[in-house]
Amino acid sequence: MLSRTADNLFWLARYTERAGNVARGLGVASRMAALTARLGAETEEWRSLVTASGGDASFYRKYEAPTADSVVHWLVFDPENPSGILSSIEAARRNARAVRTALTVDMWEALNDTWNHLRALPPEAMEGEKLADFLGWVRERVTLFNGAAHDTMLRDEAWRFVHLGTMLERADNTARLLDVKHNLLTAEAEGAVDYVQWQAVLRSVSALRSYQWIYRDRLNPRRIAELMILRPELPRSLMACLAEVAETLEAIALGQGGRRGECHRLAGTLQAQLRYGRIDAIMEEGLHAFLTTMIERVAALGGEIDAFYIRH
């Protein structure tokens, strides 16, 4: 496959997934802000969301403080934020348009309809009372796109680069979400606010129910960390996402007669580390340090994939 096509497919999937993740994060944060407003803790919610979306520097250059208004504006509309919902959909569609021929009609229409609808939507329909509905709609559209890709794409290289993009972005997102809350998960104290926070962390990866199904017990920070980092059953855990990345890279290599590079080694190492990792050891080493390293290595993996398949 053309390297540029692979690149477009990879980023098309990453940006689409990002739009869904931002919507998910924003939904949970506004819910949390409403719950913690009386305790005066809502600013903290908005602050950590901005940090998790990886845009700290540019946000504070433009806005004084993280408030409901500024963060929603930044994460939904602001064209200066390349990771905002509108920017991400725009970027996804731009990538899609460049590789129309590599997409199925269902994928293209899922994305193009989303883009057309967003373009015509007045800002009032994306904020205030309408925000929750809007975010729900974005998540639906991303799910539709992912479903269209999953259900209609030939299982060839095009599919594999799409899948790589989705999984790498998802791994990155889970690591970031968890990292901004690492304090909560390491503190021993257990107040009402903490409990709501733990729920929020799980909700942000749609895993509150999953927790109950797996542990059948009350929320416990160590288990939350274990679920989101190490459990292969949770589709948004680091383990699940990076296993998909490693398998997909392996499938691409097999399709090319065993051609492998640094990205394959790195993906395999990451997968093994998670597969044989233990949560106690991670907590001992320090959750924050572990997650920071993870975020860096996931980024490095993205760079190696690019170096091997795209910009050789």
């Binding site: 496959m1 053309l2 390297s3 540029r4 096509t5 692979a6 731009r94 348009r97 460049a98 129309r100 021929t101 293209w108 229409e109 193009n112 309809d113 057309n116 290289e157 680069f161 691409i252 090319q256 051609r259 398949y309 795209i310 050789h312």
Partner: protein
């Protein structure tokens, strides 16, 4: 898209393709019944449905830098344009003949230059033309073909009067509309389509691919690697590039996807470099290769021309093919037919006055208010004057311009383009149309029965260019037309009268 149908507006009675004086023409009988039986609201609903369809599939042409929506729809008219089988067959013979002559001309002017030595075309007009690429002298393209895909713009002024308005030998666009318009009609009006025996156009991409494979360099083997080279998503015809490549199952590449090493072209793939044999290029000559043409080209491939010269890759269409569609060379095409093929031209040219010639210029200046004046190098309907509609000031301005730079201008009589019924604000009304069929040249000439009909939506307007508010229609070539034998007879007869009138008219 495309070039100007400069043949201008005129309130002169235009030929109505549906209505004759004594009733509806046979080919349009069903359409007429359908139009009379369908309430206006239903047509409007279908029109909206069509727009939605086009928007949804993403069939747009890009207009950047003018403000407003950069991805625009070309208005699609839901009433098909019908062409009778005999009319089409006659036209197709003429198109094939014309393209054979154009290819022979190109091979000649970049080879032995016999037509110049014979004095049948002024040497300076060819060799000093900006469409002439001296870089092509001495290169024999694989298969000897130069204009693999030609779009010949046809206009009609009467029952048997068809004229070639202009030739497009470089990178003519619009064929995706021919295909998508048909898809839209089949979806919107399955019953109406079924009532007619319409010649299918869907095999065009296949024919194009075979044409491209046929001109691959010999060393490419049985399965040559064919790619489509596009300037990228900001090009107005980008949708078409992707559409065609998808239909043919080939890669759409940009300049940066290709690299040349040891005079061999490769594309960058995820599995490493892969050799490319044939490039269907949709970028202009001057941007093809910064080493050979414009050094500032960012969309080209450095070293491409060297690979071409070495015979390692085929380019379709060949660089330099533009010399054959120059507006000042156009008047000589009938002469090319006679010179290379030894045949009389089957298709007529619109009489054309070259302002460079003293006698022609005198005539043009004396009749400015009756003529259409065009820039010899222009396209897209820009920089042209339609005499009968021009104000005194504009006429004077053009008079001064022609006197200052006569070589830049040509003039033609104002033709009354034929009309077809079209859905407009006030109801259904006749609007002027032209037709661009696409002619493929590989080992043989192939023409898919049909083409792109462009329609001037504004009342009285004769300018059909999409950049000037023109729309498109589906074009139906009927497989039959009532009594078959009669149709056959009239065909060969009119073919004859056509060529006679041509030779008499000059």
């Amino acid at each position: 898209m495309g070039a100007a149908s400069s043949v201008s507006q005129a309130r002169i009675a235009a030929f109505d393709e549906m209505r004759a004086e004594d009733g509806i023409r046979a080919a349009y009988a069903e359409i007429d019944r359908w139009l009379r039986a369908t309430p206006r609201e239903q047509l409007d609903a279908k029109r909206r449905e069509a727009e939605l369809l086009f928007r949804r599939i993403g069939i747009t042409f890009a207009v950047y830098g003018e403000g407003g929506d950069p991805e625009r729809l070309i208005p699609f008219d839901i009433i098909p344009r019908i062409i009778a089988r005999s009319e089409w067959e006659r036209m197709a013979l003429g198109l094939s003949q014309r393209v054979r002559a154009l290819n022979a001309f190109l091979a000649d002017v970049y080879g032995k230059q016999e037509i110049l030595r014979a004095g049948r075309i002024p040497t300076a007009l060819v060799l000093q033309n900006e469409g002439y690429r001296a870089e092509m002298v001495g290169i024999v393209p694989p298969g000897g073909v130069y204009t693999h895909v030609a779009g010949i713009d046809m206009v009609r002024t009467g029952p048997d009067e068809f004229y070639v308005l202009e030739d497009n030998c470089r990178t003519p666009s619009g064929v995706s509309y021919m295909l998508e318009n048909r898809e839209a009609m089949l979806r919107l009006f399955p019953k109406l389509c079924a009532q007619h025996r319409v010649a299918p156009v869907g095999r065009y991409p296949e024919e194009l691919l075979e044409t491209l494979k046929a001109v691959a360099p010999p060393q490419a083997g049985a399965e040559p690697c064919v790619v489509l080279l596009t300037p990228g998503p900001y090009n107005s015809a980008y949708y078409e590039h992707c559409f065609l490549a998808d239909e043919m199952g080939i890669e759409v590449v940009e300049g940066a996807d290709l690299c040349v090493e040891d005079d061999v072209v490769h594309m960058r793939t995820t599995a490493g470099p892969r050799r490319v044999d044939v490039i269907y290029r949709r970028i202009d000559d001057e941007f093809l290769d910064p080493k050979a043409f414009r050094a500032d080209s960012l969309v080209g491939v450095p070293g491409l021309m060297a690979a071409y010269r070495a015979g390692n890759v085929a380019l379709a269409n060949a660089p330099g093919a533009g010399i054959a569609d120059d507006k000042a060379v156009y008047p000589y095409v009938p002469e090319m037919v006679r010179f290379y093929l030894g045949e009389e031209p089957l298709l007529a040219n619109v009489p054309t006055y070259l302002c460079d010639r003293d006698e022609d210029r005198r005539y043009v200046l004396a009749n400015l208010d009756k003529l259409v004046v065009k820039l010899a190098k222009g396209s897209g309907g820009y920089g042209m004057m339609i005499g009968p509609h021009a104000t005194r000031d504009v006429l004077e301005e053009f008079r001064a311009r022609i006197l200052a730079r006569p070589g830049d201008y040509i003039a033609q009589p104002t033709l009354a383009l034929s009309t077809c019924p079209t859905v407009v604000e006030q109801g259904i009304a006749p609007r002027h149309v032209d037709l661009r069929p696409f002619i493929l040249s590989g080992r043989e000439i192939r023409i898919v029965p049909g083409g792109l009909t462009r329609v001037a939506i504004r009342e009285g307007s004769l300018v059909v260019n999409s950049s000037q508010g023109g729309g498109t229609k589906d074009t139906w070539i009927l497989e039959d037309e009532g009594p078959g034998e009669a149709a056959f007879q009239s065909q060969s007869q009119s073919a004859q009268s056509q060529s006679q009138s041509q030779s008499a008219g000059g």
